[in-house]
């Protein structure tokens, strides 16, 4: 765990050293001010003393700015890098690894958990280093007066800065982990309540869920409070250590060092900072473990096809096929497909039909390489040197997906496409009129929670997206389910006209079946070709 976090600091060690240096200078300056003031209280201060005191005040003010600024700069850079790393990792986990998706928890990971690590980077590493060097300096100062007193100082420093926090860390770790887990679970619950508000209204359970969420939040609060209570006993232990140390030192120190004796309980600010740390730090470490565990999750590798050269007499440039494929979902007992072969060529429209659960969608996922077949092969046949991508597939899901971006970006997904082409595609799918009603046209920002179009239109926009990206295979998953029959045949006509590659339609509608050149009927792990 520590190694994982320290690795993140490495590239920023220059700034970190700057922060620690400033912190040390600030801590020493603050101590100087206190000791000088104590000297002033006891016996008056020389002009030089005042001058040094004034300078120390300046250093104390400016150095703590430097310490905090650079320390947090390091921390926030690391946090940002971690956020990006987590996100990138989630992208590599998609799509097969997202079945366990729990958005509320992941949001907590990206937000609260990563933020909790700030404690480690900004308030632990630096202060620890500062406290060590500061203790050495303090001991040297006391050594000049009395070696035994120096030993007592070291003892108090170790008790306050090391023994108490370590004792605490030991007791608090499990409590913090429990509190953090409870918080993540609560976030997930609230997330679902919020996302499924329409459903909970229908079921009449909105109030009940709100009450349940409140109970969970109160429970998380109680766990945090238990951790805080431990912190309180630490505070008391620190007060005891300082008070005892003070009495001892006042007895040990010679009368001419009385200023040191007076300021003694105020000299341990860096150690007190460490003593306050464990609660927040254990939360941070727990978050770190959580993040590390996610980053360690291995993605399901995208399955790459075997590429074969097309025979000279091939009728098409490109074809994709599953050859004698069997497949069982990870963790499932029964195979979905057994010794199945299908093939789709450029220029034809092929339909997958069959009852629910017969493996139509699974076969499509195998074609897309989301999963690797247990037995058999995914084969792409193409003329040599025809394309850089042996397989580029556009998949139009049943449930439309839109992002909080402009309409243009939603359609191109960031690929550079001229507006004229986008408008032309929209027009050919019968959306020109609708586009004209949008005040900002293609620049209209789409709010995924309040889509400014009907489900039928959403599906045509999905189709527009698919037609805008050059690919060899277009997979339409129940494309016509929300279209009226006439619109549907028009859409398929557009697909035939505008799209040069192979088209695969997964459907159960007889009207759609009629539009296909060839059919594969899926039933009971098997596939039969129907012409």
């Amino acid at each position: 765990m520590g190694a994982f976090l320290l690795e993140l600091v490495k590239p920023l060690r220059g700034r970190w050293l700057l922060s620690a240096g400033c912190g040390l200078a600030g801590a020493l300056a603050k101590t100087a001010v206190i000791v000088l003031a104590a000297q002033g209280v006891i016996g008056g201060l020389s002009a030089r003393g005042w001058l040094i005191g004034g300078l120390a005040v300046l250093v104390a003010a400016v150095a703590s700015y430097g310490e905090q600024y650079f320390g947090h700069d390091v921390a926030f850079r690391i946090l940002k890098n971690l956020r990006v790393r987590v996100f990138d990792h989630l992208v590599t986990l998609a799509p097969a690894g997202l079945d366990q998706q729990e958005s509320g928890r992941w949001l907590q990971l990206i937000g609260g958990d990563i933020e909790a690590l700030e404690v480690f980077f900004a308030h632990t590493l630096g202060p620890l280093a500062i406290a060590v060097v500061y203790t050495a300096c303090l001991c040297v100062v006391f050594l000049t007066v009395s070696p035994v007193a120096a030993l007592a100082v070291l003892l108090v420093a170790l008790v306050v800065g090391a023994a108490i926090p370590l004792w605490h860390a030991d007791r608090v770790a499990s409590l913090t982990a429990e509190a953090a887990e409870s918080q993540r679970a609560t976030r997930q619950y609230v997330f679902e309540s919020s996302e499924n508000r329409r459903l909970s209204d229908q079921l009449g359970i909105t109030e009940a869920r709100a009450a349940a969420a409140q109970t969970q939040l109160a429970e998380a609060g109680r766990l945090r409070q238990a951790a805080d209570r431990l912190q309180n006993s630490d505070r008391l232990a620190v007060v005891f250590a300082l008070t005892g140390g003070w009495a001892l030192i006042a007895w040990l120190l010679p009368p001419d060092a009385i200023a040191l004796a007076l300021s003694f309980p105020l000299l341990f600010a860096p150690h007190q900072a460490l003593a306050r740390l464990p609660g927040a730090l254990s939360r941070g470490l727990d978050a770190g473990r959580n993040i590390q565990a996610l980053l360690a999750q291995a993605p399901v590798p995208h399955h790459e096809p075997v590429v074969q050269a097309a025979p000279a007499a091939a009728s098409a440039d490109w074809a994709i096929s599953l050859a004698h494929v069997s497949f069982t979902y990870p963790g499932a007992e029964r195979a979905v497909l057994r010794d199945v072969s299908v093939s789709i060529k450029a220029g034809e429209v092929v339909g997958f039909v069959g009852a629910r659960g017969a493996g139509k969608s699974t076969a499509a996922k195998l074609l897309m390489g989301w999963f690797a077949p247990d037995i058999g092969q995914l084969v792409v046949t193409e003329k040599e040197g025809v394309s850089a991508h042996p397989r580029r597939i556009n998949y139009m899901p049943q449930r439309p997906v839109f992002f909080h971006e402009t309409l243009r970006d939603n359609l191109t997904l960031g690929m550079a496409q001229p507006d004229a082409l986008i408008c032309e595609r929209l027009g050919s799918l019968g959306l020109a009129q609708w586009l004209a009603t949008l005040p900002a046209g293609l620049d209209t920002v789409i709010d995924p929670h309040h889509l400014p179009f009907s489900t039928g239109q959403a599906q045509r926009l999905e189709l527009t997206r698919a037609l805008l990206r050059p690919s060899q295979l277009l997979i339409l998953d129940e494309p016509t389910s929300t279209q009226d029959p006439e619109a549907m045949s028009r859409l398929l006509a557009v697909v035939r006209r505008e799209f040069q590659g192979a088209v695969l339609i997964i459907t159960h509608r007889p009207e759609t079946v009629a539009q296909c050149d060839r059919l594969y009927r899926f039933s009971d792990q098997q596939v039969a070709a129907v012409s």
């Binding site: 206190i34 003031a37 209280v41 120390a56 005040v57 104390a60 003010a61 600024y69 947090h72 926030f76 850079r77 940002k80 956020r83 990006v84 996100f87 992208v91 998609a94 799509p95 079945d99 366990q100 998706q101 729990e102 949001l107 907590q108 937000g111 976030r187 609230v190 997330f191 679902e192 919020s194 996302e195 329409r198 209204d201 229908q202 909105t206 939040l217 109160a218 609060g221 409070q225 805080d228 309180n232 006993s233 008070t243 009495a247 004796a261 007076l262 105020l266 009852a355 629910r356 659960g357 997904l413 960031g414 995924p448 009907s454 489900t455 239109q457 990206r469 929300t482 279209q483 619109a487």
Partner: protein, 521 residues
């Protein structure tokens, strides 16, 4: 921010006692300083006893109740906030990202106000009173020093206030936006990956994270600017202490230690207050939500016999969707609504269930105008299901149980109508874990489960909008039989393009600018 005092009031006494014990060591230290540095040895014992008593008292109180005020106040705030969310109409509730990132986080962090900030202010105040006592006794001006320091700090903070709150708002906004875009992208990640747009969106997320980092640093800069002033002034005050102190050494020592601890604790206060203040924009949002009073509504008829859409019109912006639509639903047969894409079928459904307001016309349930009822109230009698249903994570059984907690009735209903036949093919059967929003089920299975849940709620009116788009033929026929049978006693409107559905209808309406009766049995 003063609203924060309205919560957890009954625990304020405990908080005062807790802060009192927490402060008491300061008094002990003042006595110790006088005893150790001055010559009155008895004071050492007095100081020691005070510190020991304080520790014991603090420990004992913490065993019973600890941070009780903060705990009670945040629990009440959470409760009030969640209740306000539940009370509000679905359309006016903030999205999940805002609720989680902004509001709940702000309430959690608000606990610091009760647990840390107020006790610290009280402690500093008590130390000042002690200092003022010493200063009166010694005829010194030392008690003026902290006041002077406070005045200058206040002026500095005041000067920075506007910039701070602007940057706080900006930072909060970026944090919420980051969360929203994260959730948004997560929802469509499969699409992005299959279009090879994953890296691009990752890059966008990276630049958004960078903008958030930038905003955080800007907040930090302003906070640190004020901390330079606070640190400088605090240590200057400590340094100036010798100039004001008078009287015997023991008294001076006590006053010095009191002043120094006061100033150093006061400096901590600066850090805490920044932490709380940075939550101010979020807390303002939370309190804004709490202020809306609950709407008291009359009851809707429990067994309505007629739903009438009278002369309704709908428009988006200035574009008319349909006009003069009149329609009556009554028990005794299925009513199906069809029409071209974008003709406003879903809009009509939304007018009936209250998600949208009609531009003109009225919707009556047994003669009662629905306009006076909120969408939430209407949901108690009107069940609506769309093509992309919502489901709760958990198992199939746990979802069904939410719809109908009565085991016997639920089982009897499902058996009677032979719903959810697909469960027989699942290895885990009823206990199949369905994942967030049912993502581990196929779209068709999701639709079937959602329909079964809706029918289990046994509402008198159902609006079904393209609910069989992913369901296979055989199941569609079966669902038609079930819904058809229910339509004898329920008011049911089914929106569908499917000729099969239309063939089962008693009445088929077509929407296209206006509503026309197309046919029926």
């Amino acid at each position: 921010m003063s609203q924060l005092f309205h919560y957890g009031k009954e625990q304020v006494g405990r908080a005062l006692v807790e802060s009192g014990w927490g402060w008491l060591p300061n008094l002990g230290w003042a006595l110790l300083a006088a005893g150790l540095i001055g010559q009155t040895r008895q004071l050492i014992w007095a100081g020691g006893v005070v510190v020991a008593c304080a520790a014991l008292g603090s420990w004992l109180t913490a065993r019973g109740h600890f941070h009780a005020w903060g705990l009670a106040a945040t629990a009440q705030l959470h409760g009030a906030y969640l209740a306000a969310l539940a009370r509000r109409a679905e359309a006016s509730v903030p999205d999940a990202g805002t609720t989680l990132q902004r509001d709940l986080t702000a309430i959690d962090k608000g606990a610091g106000f009760y647990n840390v900030l107020v006790p610290a202010v009280l402690g500093v105040g008590a130390s000042w009173v002690l200092l003022a006592g010493l200063s009166l006794w010694q005829h010194s001006l030392v008690a003026i020093l902290p006041l002077g320091c406070l005045a200058v700090v206040a002026i500095v903070l005041r000067a920075l206030a506007r910039r701070v709150s602007r940057r706080d708002r900006e930072c909060m906004h970026r944090f919420v936006a980051l969360g929203q875009s994260f959730l948004d992208t997560l929802g469509g990640l499969t699409m992005l990956v299959s279009y090879e747009a994953g890296p691009l969106f990752a890059q966008r997320f990276a630049s958004q994270s960078e903008r958030f980092r930038h905003a955080t640093m800007r907040v930090l800069q302003t906070q640190l600017t004020s901390l330079i002033a606070i640190n400088g002034l605090v240590y200057l005050t400590v340094l100036l202490a010798p100039l004001t102190l008078r009287g015997p050494l023991g008294g001076r020592a006590a006053a010095f230690v009191t002043l120094a601890t006061l100033m150093l604790n006061g400096r901590q206060l600066g850090y805490f207050s920044h932490g709380i203040k940075s939550q101010r924009p979020a807390l303002r949002g939370v309190f804004g939500m709490l202020e809306t009073a609950p709407r008291v509504e009359a009851d809707l008829p429990a067994h309505p016999q007629q739903l009438t859409v009278r002369d309704c019109a709908a428009a988006y912006a200035d574009r008319s969707v349909f006009k003069n639509v009149s329609l009556t639903l009554a028990p005794g047969g299925l009513t199906v609504l069809c029409g071209a894409n974008g003709s406003g079928k879903t809009t009509l459904v939304n007018l009936i269930n209250g998600s949208r307001e009609p531009a003109r016309g009225a919707i009556l349930l047994d003669g009662q105008d629905l306009a006076q009822f909120s969408a939430k109230k209407r949901a108690s009698v009107i069940g609506t299901l769309g093509p992309s249903p919502q489901l709760f994570s958990g198992t199939i059984a746990s979802n069904l149980k939410l719809a109908c907690p009565d085991d016997a009735r639920r089982k009897a209903f499902l058996a009677k109508w032979q719903l959810l036949a697909f469960i027989r093919d699942l290895p885990a059967g009823w206990n199949t874990v369905i994942g967030e929003n049912g993502r581990r089920l196929s779209p068709g299975q999701r639709q079937e489960l959602a329909l079964a849940m809706l029918l289990l709620t046994d509402k008198p009116v159902y609006l079904l909008d393209e609910i069989t788009t992913s369901v296979d033929r055989r199941t569609t026929k079966h669902l038609l039989d079930v819904v058809g049978a229910l339509s004898r006693s329920h008011l049911i409107l089914w929106v569908s393009h499917d000729p099969l559905v239309q063939a089962h209808a008693a009445k088929v309406y077509q929407l296209g600018g206006q509503l026309t009766l197309k046919g029926g049995r």
